[in-house]
């Protein structure tokens, strides 16, 4: 079985395991749920580090993967800190240094996508390839998402009775979601360049992962208090994040195996030539 298919089944199994424990577990097992949830970001961070290794730290060809993988590592650190603060130190994880890691993660992922955009030499001409009806639908969706995030994630996030740090991070997440929307749009432009090629499928998985994160963030903006109090069904918001992380991991694994395949192919050609 191909490695990419194997990783797809393994990641799917992991998601089913996490989802089953959230859906069927009692609220008393929230410690267990949140512990196994961490497997998703850790898997994404490991996949990202594997993808960095294949290019090396300094290769310009891998700059996009480097920043995206670092973004995943920062999100994972944020998740681990959130987990430690909430479940071990029994202190409110918001606002905390965990939020700092999350927000830096968004910026790093955006830089990675920007690097990929530069590499793909995307121009506005590429938008024409999408077609007018699809372009109109995407523009409408993006406009609606920007309105929702701007209102609920930024405008309503400001709390005059809260401290400066709480407001900084609260509004920061709204701005980070705007970054996610723009990132998804940029990733779509990259797909139009590589349409039909294996690089495009990496970005397709990546966009779906970004959208799952965005959905999770929007739901968190609505039901943050219920979520933090471990109430059902609000805790299912975690499943959007877990699914997003596992899709990021899948995209990174596929990228890793793609480059390995190119390497093996040319190695074989070199051996045959000798």
């Amino acid at each position: 079985m191909k490695n990419s298919i194997k990783s797809f089944f393994l990641l799917s199994a992991l998601f089913v395991f996490i989802a089953a424990s959230y859906l069927f577990g009692s609220s008393a097992q929230s410690f267990f749920n949140q512990t196994i949830y961490l497997l998703a970001p850790i898997t994404a961070a490991v996949a990202g580090l594997m993808a960095i290794k294949i290019y090396g730290w300094r290769d310009p060809a891998g700059r996009d993967v480097l920043f995206i993988a670092l973004g995943l590592v920062f999100w994972t650190l944020g998740d681990v800190l959130w987990y430690v603060f909430k479940l071990f130190l029994k202190i409110d994880p918001f606002p905390s240094v965990a939020d700092m890691f999350y927000l830096i993660g968004y910026v790093l992922i955006f830089i990675g996508i920007y690097k990929a955009l530069r590499l793909a030499e995307v121009s506005l001409e590429n938008f024409k390839k999408i077609g007018r009806p699809a372009m109109a639908a995407i523009s409408l969706l993006v406009a609606v998402l920007i309105l929702i995030v701007s209102y609920f994630g930024i405008y309503l996030a400001y709390d005059p009775s809260a401290g400066a740090l709480t407001n900084f991070f609260g509004i920061g997440y709204g701005v980070a979601d705007l970054i996610l929307i723009i990132s998804s749009l940029l990733a779509l432009m990259i797909i139009t360049v590589y349409r039909g090629g294996k690089f495009a499928s990496f970005w397709a998985r990546f966009i779906i992962a970004l959208c799952l994160f965005l959905l999770g963030d929007i739901l968190f903006a609505f039901y943050g208090v219920e979520f933090e109090n471990d109430l059902k069904p609000y805790i299912y918001i975690d499943l959007f994040y877990a699914g997003g992380y596992l899709l990021f991991a899948y995209a990174m694994f596929v990228k890793y195996y793609t480059i390995i395949a190119v390497k093996k192919n040319i190695e074989q050609n070199l051996t045959t030539a000798v």
Partner: protein, 77 residues
């Protein structure tokens, strides 16, 4: 080896390095060393089509052929 031969190899390796990294480009450099121009072009075209898609592969190959021609022209005159 003609000037043109060197150019097409160099340009092909530059494109490979851009998308697949320096390690893979170095391996292709070895592989292309004694190969005819046609094989270099067709091998590059196959690689780019598989990973970048047909449209972008065509764009890159078009750029490559025009750059090789310009360099070859400049070196001759």
């Amino acid at each position: 080896m003609s000037v043109e031969n060197n150019d097409i190899r160099q340009q092909a390796i530059t494109i490979i390095a851009k998308y697949f990294g320096r390690d893979i480009a170095a391996m292709y450099e070895k592989y292309y060393a004694n190969k005819p121009d046609e094989l270099v072009s067709s091998s590059l075209a196959l690689l780019l089509e598989e990973y970048l898609g047909k449209a972008e592969a065509d764009v890159q190959l078009k750029k490559l052929s025009s750059e090789v021609n310009i360099n070859s022209y400049e070196k001759q005159y």
